[in-house]
C-alpha cells in the first residue's frame, strides 16, 4: 500500500521567501536555478568492501559499499552474474527517517539506482559468470544515507559509480570436483560506462537542479534522468504529486545530458586521481 507519509514542514515565511527568490531566478541558499551544490567524493572509505565511496552533495552524505562475492546464478539466467542493490535512509540521517525496513522512498531509491547500473550496461553480467549454472559473481551494492538534505538519487548514483569503478572481485579457480576455490588475489571489476543521475524539481513553476530537502518539501514534481558515458538516457523517474508539460520534459532531457557530462568528468577525475581516504 502506498500512501502519503510524514513530510518535512516548511514555515509560511520561508515559503514566501522561497517564492520571491525563485521569481528572481535565485534560491534560498544563494544558488542559481540550475546550479548544483558542492560535491566531494572520497574513495575506499570502507576497507572491508570490494569498493566504496563517500559522497557529500551539500549537506547530503551518502556511503555506497560494493561487495563482490561468489554465489549461484538465478535459474533463468544461468550464464549471468547477479546484481543486488539496496538503499536505506538511516535513522541517523534525519528526524523524518524511521528505523525499520525500507519504506517506499528507500525502495524507489534502490530500484532507480539498480536500473541505472543494469540498463546502462555498466557491468557485463556475462563476464561475471564463472561456471554456467553453477558459479557466478554476485555484486551487492548497498547505499546508506548518513545525512539527508535531498538529492538522494543523484548522490547515490555518484557514490555507486565511484564505488564500482574502484571495486575488485576475488579471483577464482575451479577445483577438479567442480567446487570453487576463491583466491585472496583480486582483479578489477571492469566498469563499462558511468551512469550519472540528475534530478530536477519544479517549484512555483520554476525548474531547479539538485533540490535540497526544503525545496523538495515545496516542489510540485520531480524528474530524475540518468545518462551514460555516451550521453544516452538509461533510466528515468518522475516523482511528486505534480506535473510536467511536454516541453518541460524535453528541455529537462537536454539539460540532464549536459550536466551529466560535467559531473561525469569530475567523478572520472576523482577516480583517476585514486584519492584514497587516509
Amino acid at each position: 500500500m502506498s500512501a502519503v507519509r510524514k513530510a518535512v514542514v516548511v514555515g509560511t515565511l520561508r515559503k514566501s521567501q522561497m517564492k520571491e527568490q525563485l521569481v528572481k531566478g535565485k534560491r534560498l541558499d544563494g544558488r542559481d536555478l540550475l546550479q548544483q551544490r558542492n560535491l566531494s567524493i572520497e574513495l575506499g572509505v570502507i576497507e572491508k568492501a570490494s569498493g566504496s565511496a563517500r559522497v557529500r552533495l551539500g549537506d547530503t552524505e551518502i556511503v555506497a559499499g560494493a561487495k563482490v562475492e561468489t554465489g549461484r546464478p538465478f535459474p533463468d539466467t544461468p550464464d549471468q552474474g547477479l546484481l543486488i542493490v539496496t538503499a536505506e535512509v538511516l535513522p541517523i540521517a534525519s528526524a523524518y527517517a524511521e528505523p525499520g525496513p525500507p519504506n517506499e522512498e528507500a525502495i524507489e531509491l534502490a530500484r532507480v539506482s539498480d536500473r541505472g547500473i543494469r540498463e546502462s550496461g555498466m557491468l557485463d553480467f556475462s563476464k561475471l559468470m564463472i561456471k554456467k549454472g553453477e558459479h557466478v559473481y554476485s555484486v551487492f551494492v548497498d547505499v546508506a544515507v548518513l545525512n539527508d538534505d535531498g538529492g538522494l538519487f543523484d548522490a547515490a548514483s555518484y557514490a555507486i559509480v565511484s564505488a564500482l569503478s574502484t571495486a575488485t572481485r576475488p579471483n577464482t579457480e575451479l577445483a577438479e570436483d567442480g567446487s570453487l576455490i576463491v583466491s585472496d588475489d583480486t582483479s578489477d571489476l571492469d566498469v563499462k560506462t558511468l551512469p550519472i543521475a540528475t534530478t530536477f524539481a519544479k517549484i512555483h513553476g520554476k525548474i531547479v537542479f539538485d533540490p535540497n530537502t526544503e525545496e523538495q518539501a515545496m516542489m510540485e514534481a520531480r524528474l530524475t534522468l540518468v545518462t551514460d558515458s555516451e550521453g544516452k538516457f538509461v533510466a528515468g523517474q518522475k516523482g511528486g504529486s505534480g506535473v510536467f508539460t511536454y516541453d518541460e520534459m524535453k528541455e529537462l532531457a537536454r539539460i540532464s545530458a549536459e550536466r551529466g557530462i560535467e559531473i561525469r568528468k569530475a567523478i572520472r577525475d576523482t577516480i583517476d586521481n585514486g584519492s584514497q581516504k587516509t
Partner: protein, 245 residues
C-alpha cells in the same frame, strides 16, 4: 541470443505495426461493492481497479485537514505471470504503487475532500508488459466512476525501442528482449505528464521521439476511456468497448 522482434517489413512478433496499440477494452462498474471500478484488457493484460472512498482516514494521524490523502495499491495475483508469482508484496509492487499514486494525485481535486481518504486498488489478474500503464488507465476510470471530482482523466501508455526502432506499447517479450521502455501517463485534455519512467538506452533524439509516441499512445487510450465511461453513463448496447486500431 536475441529473438528478432521485427521482421523485414518492420512488423512486430504479434503482427502489429511500429506505432500500433494492442487491442484495448475497458468496462466500467464491474465490482458491485466498490464505489467505482473498471476492468481493462490491454493486450493480454487483465486488470481490475476499484475505488473506495472518500472515507475516514485510518490510522487517524495521516489525516490532512485541508485535503484528501490517496492510498494506492498495485498488486499482482500469483497466477498473473508466466511463472507463478510469490504472493508476498514485492519491492516492484511497492515502487509501482507509489508511481501510480503520484500519477493520479494531480488529477484528483483533493481539496474537495478534506480529512478523507481515497483508496485505489489495482489487481493484475494477468500481466503482459505495460501493466502499470494499463492499471493507471483503469484506476483513473474507476475514480471517475466513483464520482470523485477530477481535473482530467489520466491515460497511460508506454513507448520504447526494439530492434533499433521506436515503437508504441511494448509487450512482455519486447520489454525483455528490446532496448528501451518508457511508461508514460498524461492528463490528455490538459496536456500534462503525471507518470514517467524510463529504462533502457536512448539517444537524445530517440528520447524525444519515444516520448512523443508515448503521448500519442496515451491519447488513443484516452479515447477508449471516454467511450467506456460514455457507455456506462449514456447507455450503449454493447457491454464492452473494443479498439483494435
Amino acid at each position: 541470443m536475441k529473438t528478432a522482434l521485427l521482421n523485414a517489413d518492420k512488423i512486430r512478433l504479434d503482427g502489429r505495426k511500429l506505432d500500433e496499440l494492442r487491442p484495448v477494452k475497458i468496462e466500467v462498474g464491474v465490482i458491485k461493492n466498490a464505489d467505482g471500478s473498471a476492468r481493462i484488457e490491454f493486450g493480454k493484460n487483465k486488470i481490475m481497479a476499484a475505488v473506495y472512498g472518500p472515507k475516514e482516514v485510518h490510522p487517524k494521524h495521516l489525516t490532512k485537514p485541508d485535503r484528501a490523502i490517496v492510498k494506492c495499491r498495485y498488486h499482482m495475483t500469483p497466477f498473473s505471470t508466466d511463472t507463478r508469482k510469490n504472493p508476498s508484496f514485492s519491492r516492484r509492487e511497492i515502487e509501482i504503487s507509489k508511481v501510480i499514486r503520484q500519477a493520479l494525485e494531480p488529477a484528483i481535486i483533493l481539496e474537495d475532500y478534506p480529512r478523507s481518504s481515497i483508496e485505489v486498488y489495482m489487481e493484475v489478474l494477468q500481466s503482459d508488459g505495460g501493466s502499470r500503464c494499463a492499471a493507471l488507465s483503469a484506476a483513473s476510470v474507476a475514480l471517475a466512476d466513483a464520482g470523485i471530482n477530477m481535473r482530467d482523466l489520466v491515460a497511460g501508455c508506454a513507448a520504447g525501442k526494439i530492434g533499433g526502432e521506436i515503437v508504441l506499447d511494448i509487450d512482455d517479450t519486447e520489454d525483455k528482449e528490446g532496448e528501451a521502455d518508457m511508461p508514460t501517463g498524461i492528463m490528455p485534455s490538459l496536456g500534462l505528464v503525471t507518470l514517467f519512467q524510463l529504462d533502457g538506452n536512448l539517444s537524445a533524439s530517440e528520447f524525444q521521439k519515444t516520448f512523443d509516441l508515448a503521448v500519442n499512445g496515451c491519447m488513443k487510450v484516452y479515447q477508449i476511456q471516454r467511450e467506456a465511461l460514455m457507455n456506462k453513463y449514456f447507455g450503449q448496447s454493447e457491454p464492452m468497448q473494443e479498439s483494435n486500431e
